[in-house]
Symmetry: none
Subunit: 229 residues, 2 copies
Amino acid sequence: MLLVDDDPTVAEVASSYLRAGGFVVEEAGDGFAALQAAERFAPDLIVLDRMLPGIDGLEVFRRLRERMSTPVILLTALGSEDERIAGLEAGADDYLAKPFSPRELVLRVQSVLRRSIGEFTPESVLEYGEFRLDPSARIAARAGVELSLTVREFDLFEFLLKHPNQVFSREDLLRTVWGWTYGDLSTVTVHVRRLREKIERDPRSPTMLTTVWGVGYRFTMDGVPNAVV
Amino acid sequence: MLLVDDDPTVAEVASSYLRAGGFVVEEAGDGFAALQAAERFAPDLIVLDRMLPGIDGLEVFRRLRERMSTPVILLTALGSEDERIAGLEAGADDYLAKPFSPRELVLRVQSVLRRSIGEFTPESVLEYGEFRLDPSARIAARAGVELSLTVREFDLFEFLLKHPNQVFSREDLLRTVWGWTYGDLSTVTVHVRRLREKIERDPRSPTMLTTVWGVGYRFTMDGVPNAVV
DNA sequence: GGCATCCGTTCGCGTTCCGTAAGACTTGCC
DNA sequence: GGCAAGTCTTACGGAACGCGAACGGATGCC
């Protein structure tokens, strides 16, 4: 994947998120470098800022288009609806308005790639202990009984199920699940509490989604062989 | 493959994509040239713009059909919904609304070719729970009783039946069922409502075509084994 | 031409969910 | 025990969301 943005801060944050999402990321700081890199690396996807020094982003986009059919996600400073439409009309595969949440970017990237590979191939179902979680159906169940989780709760639970027996600080969760680089940490606290209310047998004394004092939270299942202990 | 479009920019972008996809592309700029080229090259597929100088695209299509059974993908102008219907009724193999993403075009071309090479058998009848849906006859029925669905409702229902137990955002549906890259999402909302009115026993509290808050819609049948629960 | 159908859009209303703040409680440390 | 920092609990306002109803326009049919 190729990431083109002239702002080093944006580029750094975005690429670190994308790498955390399992992508190999090349970077370019201007239009010329972008074209060269696209030629040399033949990336499977390009994230392109529309405002670039030197050659304009849209112009870069057109030149790319002449040579390859690589999917392109456009980034733009002001998120007016017209620009979005103009971008899509020009043939971009998706569009993201700055400032964007890094998580949003990762989601879009995944979505575009999924689209270009094969439409709607369902994600595999997560099974852990008595829990079953189907990401494509967005259904979570304990012992065959469906849990009605909200969007945030589901995302949080999904993340924890994918990384059991591991401690995450509130900041970690805010970054990965919420996609925020800053924000009120109590947001996490409250959502953890709400999630406990729905998945724990006795929410007052949680056994699975436990607090690691001074550090954060950890999801462990009793009865399930622990990776560490 | 033969590409017929009077707009040089569109033709250039599209054909470069198709060539990148491994296709051999001939081009024609108007109806006469199209008919001549079709005769001479005997392409295995034709991409045909509906709006052409001289002879109208649909007319070209009819004349083509008189002589050969080559698959045809129609390109229609934005928003002209009934053009699309007319096109499909006339026997086009697929349609694509302008402005389209070139990638989308390549995907459709591949899909149509796969279909036409693979088998001539009409699409198989979908059966799911008490529902029966015949895509080629465009007939949907619940428990043997025919449901009078409109074109949109049928398309939507067909897609949902083909992908049960999976959540789709309004955007997903707008892109796949409507073939739009952008547009008013409430269009989907309203059509889901109308479809519910016809397939749900109690449309006020739907049990099959359910809303997943903050995400989208999911079709699940009671009585049919669910993926998770 | 007149009628009916279908489609996309708009607006108001009720509901759900989220983030935050504030106070009570717990834990670790002295 | 007393203190401070960290965590839990509860409550609330606002925002986002989905729904229903209705409208205007386009099209096809008689």
